[in-house]
Symmetry: C2
């Protein structure tokens, strides 16, 4: 931990209550009208006389997600002073790709709960989730083609390929306690950060702000995405189920090797290594194992160290905004990064 992240961390700790409440509100307020148009467009674009597609999309859209990714496209366009309307369908494209990924993710992970609601594969079937995911994915590309920007098409086809690669990588490295920091970061970069990056960069593309702005927003989104996923992975060990909207301990039960475990493995005694191997690699878990895992993470401070990594990525993200003039949109983006990290406190 550097001196500056330590300082930032203590600043977060000092007024966490207040900041947690404040921070996403500004972003949500600024994009509220645009987001309504995005939602209306999404529901219009899935009306095709096939009830299953409409019902399933509605289920996901209505299940109370934060809609962070499309909001990033909308607020990034505002940051760049955009006054047109191309950001609306393109934000819908981002949400379509994200939703398709969630649908396929839940099938692959055999999940039953997301954002506190039963997942689509439980309500309908794995078959429906696979096929409706494919449909939403294709629909997204149709919308991009209508918009006509090859730059946007490149951003989102690259992001989609990277997401799929990240998921396959995760499949290959799952339950492997030898996973190192570099491999872990490669997976969360691919699975989460790339779509954050593309979502933000699209705001600069539609505004025709030039390559420097696109690049800055791309890297803002990417560092933000990594910070976001780092915190998500910490929350899987520390959040209350109500605030997380999914089952706490899922990652542990599934044997996912995330940063708090990688750091605990680095410091583990031989018997502790055997514990991680038994529970995560061999998937032989018994009563009290989750509590034992938590205790080891506390002992070695690995949850805190993981949050510190998130803080560093968050700072790097915010630093990417320095060339943009002061605006409500800029403040909202900074707040969003802070909010994402504050969730861990």
């Amino acid at each position: 931990m550097t001196a500056s992240t330590a300082m930032t961390l203590s600043a977060y700790n000092s007024d966490s209550e207040q900041r947690t409440k404040a921070s996403l509100a500004r972003l949500q307020q600024l994009v509220a009208d645009d987001l309504k148009r995005v939602d209306a467009l999404i529901l219009e674009k899935v009306k095709n006389g096939i009830p299953l597609i409409h019902d399933l999309t509605r289920h996901i859209i209505a299940s109370g997600g934060k809609r962070l990714r499309p909001s990033l496209t909308l607020i990034a366009a505002q940051l760049c002073g955009y006054t047109g309307s191309r950001h609306i369908p393109l934000a819908a494209c981002v949400e379509f790709i994200h939703t398709a990924t969630l649908l396929h993710d839940d099938v692959v992970d055999n999940s039953s709960l997301r954002r506190g609601e039963p997942t689509a594969n439980v309500v309908w079937s794995n078959k429906a989730s696979v096929l409706v995911g494919d449909f939403l994915f294709s629909r997204s590309f149709q919308l991009m083609v209508e918009d006509g920007s090859l730059k946007v098409l490149k951003l989102l086809s690259d992001a989609s390929a990277t997401i799929a690669q990240g998921e396959v990588m995760q499949l290959s490295t799952a339950n492997n306690v030898a996973t190192n920091l570099e491999e872990y970061l490669a997976v969360i970069d691919a699975k989460t950060a790339t779509l954050f990056a593309a979502a933000c960069a699209i705001g600069a593309v539609v505004s025709e702000q030039g390559e420097k702005a696109e690049e800055n927003l791309y890297h803002f989104g990417r560092d933000f995405g990594i910070a976001f996923q780092l915190v998500d992975d910490v929350l899987d060990y520390s959040a209350s189920e109500a605030s997380l909207g999914k089952t706490v301990g899922d990652d542990f039960r599934d044997g996912k090797v995330t940063l708090p475990i990688i750091l605990a493995m680095e410091k583990a005694s031989e018997s502790e290594r055997q514990f991680w191997k038994r529970t995560l690699e061999d998937q032989e878990q018994q009563e009290g194992d989750f509590e034992k895992a938590l205790e080891l993470m506390q002992r070695y401070g690995t949850l805190k160290a993981s949050v510190e990594q998130a803080v560093a990525y968050g700072e790097s993200a915010k630093n990417r905004l320095k060339d943009f003039p002061a605006s409500a949109a800029k403040e909202a983006l900074i707040d969003a990064v802070d909010f994402c990290i504050m969730r861990a406190f």
Copy 2:
């Protein structure tokens, strides 16, 4: 059946043995060099340091499919006198989308055998099939973006969305013996014909032959695709497993309501309706049911009537080629249609 399709049908019957042997050979010979370049490109584009993606794609590519769809792009480009090289990556795009669809299809259908080989979901897992399918799909769009034609992007994003819609439709109407001809045609049009259509039209697009040629090749592909699927559905009741490369009777066991059944339902007595309802809708099948189904199809001539429909679509397809000057490529396309129909004899 019109007089002309009856005539064509009898012509098919008269020299079926010879025509079956001859017909795909000409196409395969004309595209052989190009297809090698397509295969090399496909394998290059899935090399990304993730063995699972490479292995699984190789498994499908190497499993001896006819490669009809990418060949259609290649031969259509030849038909239009194309001398460039854009058709190579775009044929790879068509094959990527087709392969992604197969991977997801096998998961949805719980298939275990395709083209006489174990399916990828059996060799690897459903998870791998879902994710690698997503990757190939994204990779296809990346390649299209590199090519840079919004027309191609529109053709293949429309085709992908339509395929997914067709699959979902089929999910909604599966095991419903009240399915009518119109609904059945809508499903095979979406599931099969649209990609044939796009594959052919791309040949005209890269050759810059104008809208009329694009339209003719699009409709050639579409009618060809419908004929192809009609025959495929007949073969599920009449082929030997060796020649079909999948398990005969799969459609019956899965309760898929294809044309031979729709036509048999139209003529069914009350007890026969109960038979179809029990076996396909209620999925209560017992020893001898498949043989009974075959007997009813023979009694009402529904396999023959289905082939006649295929012949009519095949004639319509060939008619779309009349404005193109005589060439080896044109003969090869006509042969390909004939070959597809001859499989039924």
